[in-house]
Amino acid sequence: MQRQAANNTTSPQQEMLRQRLPVVIVVLLIISTILILRLFTFQWLPPEVARDFQLRRDANYQRTIRVTSERGIIYDRNGEPLAVNTFQYGIGASPNLISNPRDVATQLAALLNRSELEIYHQLTSEASWVSIARPVSAEVGQEVARLQQTVRGITREPIPRRFYPQGTLAAHILGFVAGDPQDYRGYNGVEGYYQQQLAGRVRNQDVSTIPFDLPQDIPESDRGSDLVLTLDRDIQFLIETELQLAITQTGATGGTIIVMDPRNGDILAMASYPSFDPNTYFEVTDETVFRNPAISEVYEPGSVMKVVTVASALELGVITPDWTYNDQGFIDIGGIRIENAERRAYGVVDTAQVLVNSLNVGAATIAQEMGWEDFYRMLARFGFGQPTRVDLQGEEAGILKTPYDDDWSESDLGTNSFGQGISVTPLQMITAFAAIANDGLMMQPRVVYQIVDGSDVYTTQPTALTRVVSKRTADIVTEMMVRTVNESLENAQLPGYAVAGKTGTAEISSPLGYERDASIASFIGFLPADAPQVVVLVKLDRPTGYWGSVVAAPVFRRIAERLVILMEIPPDDVRLAIQSQGGVVEEVNR
């Protein structure tokens, strides 16, 4: 009974607990509700706050690395590589992972040809990572890779490098690649012009730091496109050798040789002196050597321009092949006296004699009969005063003054007709001649034949720019050029082949007038004359021989002698015999 009474009575503490407990529960419930509500609000954060949280999350789980892809390879028309990619390596070490620094230092010193003591000091430093050698060659990199198999803690970072296995060959056409390995960039030539196609895509890639995540690979599509050039490596080597020989023999300060297929505008070879080695571009002190004189240096072409003058006048019907004039050795135009190069009169001569004897007076007379309007219209049609739009970086347009320019005078009509007072690039000049060789149809010069992007192959099609003269006019002018070579240019003749050509000897203009005893000697010729397969331009700056017929024509002949073998062009009689039997010897492959 007493125990029951005691159970029915509650102590004051119990009473207090009974009264306060609901309050505590309510307070806890309110706090919990607030916390839960707060948790819900995290689902609808302001964008900037959400982004901040995402960044904090990503920083813990992933890191961003810069991934570069391989640059495209450049091949010549026969598939010989002209520019490839190789690797150098940066060698480093994590000292805390190397258990035996003395032995490792000995081995690394032998491989890297460095002081053993220096490497030992680096390997025993407190740093988490040290760079030991950078860059080292691929061969040394392979040796270090073998060492890595037995020694922990050595790192090897590949450094991509552009390599030109042919050395200086075609340096001006190729250009070079420079800059940070992470951000290579092509300069000049096709490396510069096709930078976008050649460059592999550079992307920032998020890499997970979670070991359970599968590694991501670089997509194959990121690799740069390969280029197949119209260039023929063997012909390029030939003209570079001949140019070097000509420079040595004539003491010329510079020169350019271009070989072009007139039927499709393919540039088979293009060389200039002085040149450089794209593998060691950084050792070049005079940066002007990077410019390609064949497309970016203008010169006064001289008498080769007479071919254009004669072709234009024939095309417009101003003169005919039978046209004659009385050559008195001089002519006055616009207040200046124009004389023949040999300072003598030739009497009554016909159109062909203007080219055969390279008569300045004859060319000026023809230009005068054409009138300035037709004359400059035809020069523009031949492409002078405007870039050829060849696919090379750094092309110049040349300088063609017309009556619409303030500094033009009437005398320019006379001097322009034989290639003085007008500035052209060697490529413009050979393109004009190629048009005559190609029955009057001017083709767009091109250097790249194919762009290979993975399995996709884009082939550039030969493009006809314009018809500068009719086939009849082209045939007549070609015939006159053959006569020119046969009658006055023994140095340019090639036994067994009909060669069409013309020399040029231009004075060099300076701010003080034309220089004395200095010239730009040139020769442009093509063969076989009746079905031209190749046009060659030879230009030498300031040679000791002065005249194009003396210094440039022999270079053309030496090149032509090898070209007919390299390009498998049989002598004319053999070719005609083969054709008469149904053979094919002049098929245009591209």
């Binding site: 590589p81 691929a138 050395g167 070991p211 599968l214 690979d217 049989p570 083969i578 094919v584």
Partner: protein
Amino acid sequence: MSQNWIQHTLRRRRWRPQNQAAALATLGVIIALIIGVLYLSQVSSNATTGRQLADLIAERNELQSMNEQLRAEIAELRSVPRLLARARELGFVPAGQDQIEYLVIEGYNPHRDETVAPLQDEEPQLPVYDESFGGWLQQQLDNLRAQFEGFSNAGE
């Protein structure tokens, strides 16, 4: 008799919910354990595959860079000055025009496109899939063995 049976049933019925709960809980734990084991197995299998993949990618990259290097060396060895020097060493001289004879062969076109015989497709070696329980168990054991081998290799 019938009254005893009812009483017996009622007596059992008082304990039945507890037994059911215990059974359910045990079942839940077992299922959770199976799911846990499966999950861990899958994750570790993934990690092992990831490591193998990373190793293969590194190996492939190494081979590619070596290939590039070899390509560059071949191109350098095939450069014209080297070929010319080697040809001269072997006694060759450049052919002159008078040493070349052109022959006419009826129907022969020297500029024809090259024809290459197509490669015969190889039978792809497909992995063997075994959907049986024994196959699954063997696969898990193989994965486990591969993981241990991976760990022991990494430790060496």
